[in-house]
């Protein structure tokens, strides 16, 4: 058995404001740690090459594909998953996803929503091109993206309205 197979790690990851500690195989990915050790099953797995974005979380605030990070590497850092999103734009985003029928199977939704949250937090007034560019790392096989893009634009417009 390889060394990699037996070595363990004991990361402490702050997930949605709570510390989660556990002894896990050193090779465990953050996405699996979040799902299995932190019970955050809203973080999904859609590929094994970092190309689909279904596993997107905020790592110290930045959108990151959690399948591209080892659980051990996230020790001492802060992770926000879809159910812990609390930026001011989040309620408007959730409403807009419903109003614009931006969800079909919903498997991409947590990653999309997480990425959109980071976008609107950093750029509250993105134009359509900026939204499409920001979401380019999140694959959706169902919607063709249009209604998702419209939802993010609508949430941004709502934010604009509120800040007037």
């Amino acid at each position: 058995m390889t060394d990699l197979g037996t070595r363990t790690a004991t990361p402490t990851v702050r997930v949605n404001g709570e510390d989660v500690t556990g002894e896990v195989p050193a090779r465990m990915l953050l996405v699996h740690y979040l799902r299995e050790n932190a019970g955050r099953t809203g973080v999904h797995v859609g590929c094994d090459s970092g190309n689909c974005g279904a596993c997107t979380v905020l790592l110290d605030g930045a959108p990151v594909k959690s399948c591209m990070v080892l659980a051990a590497q996230a020790s001492g850092r802060e992770v926000t998953t879809v159910d812990g999103l609390d930026a001011p734009c989040v309620p408007a985003l959730r409403r807009a996803f419903v109003e614009h029928a931006a969800i079909q199977c919903g498997y991409c939704t947590p990653g999309m929503l997480t990425n959109a949250t980071a976008l609107l937090r950093d750029d509250p007034h993105p134009d359509e091109d900026a939204i499409r560019a920001a979401l380019k790392g999140n694959l959706c096989m169902c919607t063709g993206y249009q209604q998702i893009v419209d939802a993010v634009a609508a949430a941004a417009a709502e934010g604009e309205e509120a800040s007037r």
Partner: protein, 803 residues
């Protein structure tokens, strides 16, 4: 015959047709949805050792080192599968080929399962794959149909003497006459590459074996569990009740998840040995290798055209590269014959179909099944014919379309186009896509040396499968997809409950069904609980229940309506009895039955249910207790199998796509300047859901037209095994799609609905191909193959080679 009866079916008009917010959404927005891997689970994990060779004899399999690993729970090899299961039954192949769900004696594609291992966890299972020793003797392999058909080609199935599994011709109408009368014939060969909808959630399943009751408890994200149960129980040789199959939330399917059952079968063998529940989560790489594809296809099309610009006939020879899995071989060739004439009054049609075995991965139904490639060939040829006549392609299509007064129109094969105004769809699409304006812009652009192209495509999107096309080959009526079941009830607290025999994989079935039931009973969707968890021990499935072939709007809604109508009738009879009123004076509303015009006389659903379940002595003497009804529904238009007169599918939406692209001469990249669709899918139950289907399926087609291809080298080694090398459309690169609707109610569905999940996939390939060829016309470059990559475009611009 007319089945359409909205006035009879609906008691209110508050929900049907509205953009009701989806009941499914909240759980996704908070990460609370329960996909298979999210369900509570205690047990081990399965990993599968797959063939590294496209074609090889298995000399030996030694699993002893794996079995010696204390973390390994069980191992299953191809030999075990051969001993303990019956071979895979093919749906249409009559040739005597034998195949199992794992490789036995030899491997036929890279990725074919060779050994399956159960271990205490995922890491242990995957580690143990390294402990299996397999000796292979590589054999010559073939990747494409021409190579597989060559005289010296290696035989992939040893039990037959060629690599052809199915070869047949299905022809209707006066073909010879058409060729005699033709002023010219458009002849062309087209190729469409292998691609897939690649649902974002790959295959996933758990299996537990209950040794006391000898029951296999399978949970899988299967899109047609009804069929899987039949396949699994038959293969295991156990009674139906000994396999329980449930389906949780599923992350997309598109046809691709019709092929999970072979893995469920492997899981059953392992779980029985392991003595504990097991889970298998397919990796994306496994999914790309063989989980599964649309076949690549070579199509030779002939279109004889009269001097008056009328298309006289359509002849297609199609060779599908069905890879090396016999279960669904032949389907892509078979399914298209009855609608091969598209929206046109073509009087004769012939399809010569050949299902060819190669060492590529398996194929299964993918969004639109065969019709996208067929429409690509037809609509490309239609453009060529228009050019030959010097006629505008829109004008040429209008001249050939089935006119509205000819509805219902029967195609030469017997398919019934039930309603629609195809020419009007075209006219509106030209308007929405600003066709004339772009033609003017195109002239300007060309004068400036820019490559602007405009493409049109008119497609038919059929729904509800009559499936009997398999039977046409076998001569038996084994399968029919035109029925579905539902259970509707009113519970003691007045809540309405609904369950069907099918599953939802992202199409908003829960929302849409609740809209219909709400308007039938005068309640709101919130008053209804829809059971989204299919369970074969309680879901009222029929033999071919499932989410496929655009059948939801027709037979699944039909089954729910039928059950609800029976509940409603009983509610009215019971209320009339209890209120001492006449049934015709009763109205439904607010979860109660009221005497019209007398506010003091009403009885709540909950009270009626209490009488029906609990206070049964108060029931009318001749009334059965209970307020739950199970009903089955079938679309009665399905014809029995007959080669001379057969309808493959039972409802028909239609659409026209108008696409404007600009090709960059330097890079070969293209930009969409316009993507407009006008479609007619009959009455819409929820326009927001319909739009999502139309746009999503179109973007799937854009992927197949421009980006996606499971490429193989000449020896059939796969070259695209992840989203690094298999490119999907992303938000940044897809165009905005403008959508217009016509609503021609379908006379053969209860609410006038028609298909809506596959139209974009079917029609888009040709629209894009036509636009690119139009853009490249200054160079005389033809577009005969998909995907249209920048490399092919540049080669075309450089030396005139066809794309």
């Amino acid at each position: 015959m007319t089945i359409y009866a909205p006035d009879r079916v609906l008691a209110a008009s508050n929900w049907v047709g509205r953009r009701a917010p989806r009941k499914e959404d909240a759980r996704h927005l908070y990460g609370r949805a329960r996909f298979l891997d999210d369900l509570p689970f205690e047990g081990g994990a399965i990993a599968i050792l797959r063939s590294p060779h496209p074609h090889a004899r298995i000399v030996s399999v030694d699993t002893s080192r794996a079995l010696a690993d204390p973390r390994v729970l069980a191992v299953v090899t191809g030999e075990d599968v051969r001993r303990e299961t019956s071979p895979v039954a093919s749906r249409s192949v009559t040739a005597p080929v034998t195949q199992y769900v794992m490789a036995v004696d030899k491997v036929r594609w890279v990725g074919e399962p060779v050994v399956a291992i159960a271990a205490v966890d995922m890491f242990a299972a995957k580690d143990a794959l390294d402990l299996v020793d397999v000796e292979y003797e590589p054999l010559p392999s073939v990747a494409d149909v021409d190579a597989a058909l060559a005289g010296d080609a290696p035989l992939i199935y040893d039990d037959i003497d060629s690599n052809v599994l199915v070869h047949d011709e299905i022809a209707h109408g006066p073909m010879a006459q058409a060729f005699d009368d033709a002023a010219f014939v458009v002849r062309e060969t087209y190729r469409v590459g292998r691609f897939s909808s690649t649902p974002l959630e790959p295959y996933a399943l758990t299996v537990a074996y209950d040794a006391n009751n000898e029951v296999y408890d399978v949970v899988a994200n299967d899109q047609q569990p009804a069929r899987s149960i039949g396949n699994i129980t038959k293969a295991l040789g156990v009674p139906t009740a000994n396999v329980r199959l449930s389906v949780p939330e599923s992350g997309g399917s598109f046809g691709i998840k019709l092929a999970i059952w072979p893995y469920a079968l492997i899981g059953c063998l392992l779980a029985k040995r392991a003595g504990r529940p097991l889970k298998w989560i397919q990796t994306r790489t496994e999914h790309m290798l063989g989980g599964t594809h649309t076949p690549d296809v070579k199509m030779e099309m002939e279109l004889p055209v009269g001097a008056d610009g009328k298309i006289l006939a359509m002849r297609l020879r199609s060779k599908e590269n069905d890879g090396a899995f016999i279960h669904t071989a032949g389907i892509y060739g078979l399914i298209k014959f009855a609608t091969a004439v598209g929206p046109y009054t073509i009087g004769a049609a012939s399809i010569d179909l050949m299902s060819v075995v190669t060492n590529r991965g398996p194929v299964v139904q993918n969004r639109g099944v065969g019709k996208p490639a067929m429409t690509f060939a037809l609509e490309r040829s239609v453009d060529r014919a228009a050019r030959r006549l010097g006629m505008d392609p829109a004008e040429f299509r209008l001249r050939n379309m089935v006119p509205p007064e000819a509805m219902p129109y029967t195609t030469p094969a017997g398919e019934i186009y039930e309603s629609g105004d195809y020419p009007e769809t075209m006219r509106r699409a030209l308007e929405l896509g600003r066709y004339r304006e772009f033609r003017e812009k195109q002239a300007v652009a060309r004068a400036e040396g820019r490559l602007l192209g405009i493409g049109l495509s008119a497609g038919i999107e059929p729904g509800t499968s009559n499936i009997g096309y398999y039977s046409l080959l076998k001569g038996t009526t084994d399968y029919n997809g035109s029925s579905e079941g539902a259970v509707v009830g009113i519970e003691v607290d007045g809540q309405v409950t609904v369950r069907t025999g099918s599953v939802d994989t992202g199409q908003g079935h829960e929302t849409t069904i609740c809209q219909v039931v709400a308007d039938m009973l005068g309640i709101t969707p919130e008053d209804i609980s829809f059971d989204t968890f299919f369970d074969s021990t309680r879901s009222p499935y029929t033999g071919q229940s499932g989410a496929y072939s655009n059948r939801f709007n027709d037979v699944e809604v039909g089954a729910v309506i039928t059950a609800t109508e029976r509940v409603r009738a009983k509610v009215r009879t019971l209320a009339a009895y209890l209120l001492e009123a006449k049934e015709e004076d009763l109205v439904l509303g607010d979860r109660a039955v009221h005497v019209a015009g007398d506010a003091s006389r009403s009885v709540a659903f909950g009270e009626l249910a209490k009488v029906a379940y609990n206070k049964v002595v108060l029931l009318p003497p001749d009334m059965e207790p209970g307020l739950r009804v199970m009903a089955y529904y079938r679309n009665p238009m399905a014809k029995p199998p007959d080669r001379g007169d057969f309808n493959v599918q039972l409802t028909h939406s239609n659409s026209v796509h108008v696409v404007v692209v600009e090709v960059d001469k330097g890079t070969g990249m293209l930009d969409f300047l316009k993507y407009a669709i006008v479609h007619d899918c009959g009455r819409q139950l929820n326009p927001a859901v319909v739009e999502g289907m139309a746009i999503g399926s179109t973007v799937h087609g854009i992927g197949g037209a421009l980006l996606e291809e499971f490429q193989y080298d000449d020896a059939a080694n796969p070259l695209a095994t992840s989203f690094q090398t298999y490119l999907k459309p992303v938000a940044q690169t897809v165009p905005r799609i403008e959508l217009g609707h016509l609503e021609s109610p379908c006379p053969y569905t209860l609410l006038g609905t028609k298909a809506t999940g596959e139209g974009g996939s079917i029609t888009s390939l040709a629209a894009i191909g036509n636009a690119v060829e139009d853009a490249l016309s200054p160079y005389g470059v033809q577009v005969n193959s998909l995907p249209i990559t920048p490399e092919k475009i540049l080669r075309g611009i450089r030396d005139g080679a066809p794309v």
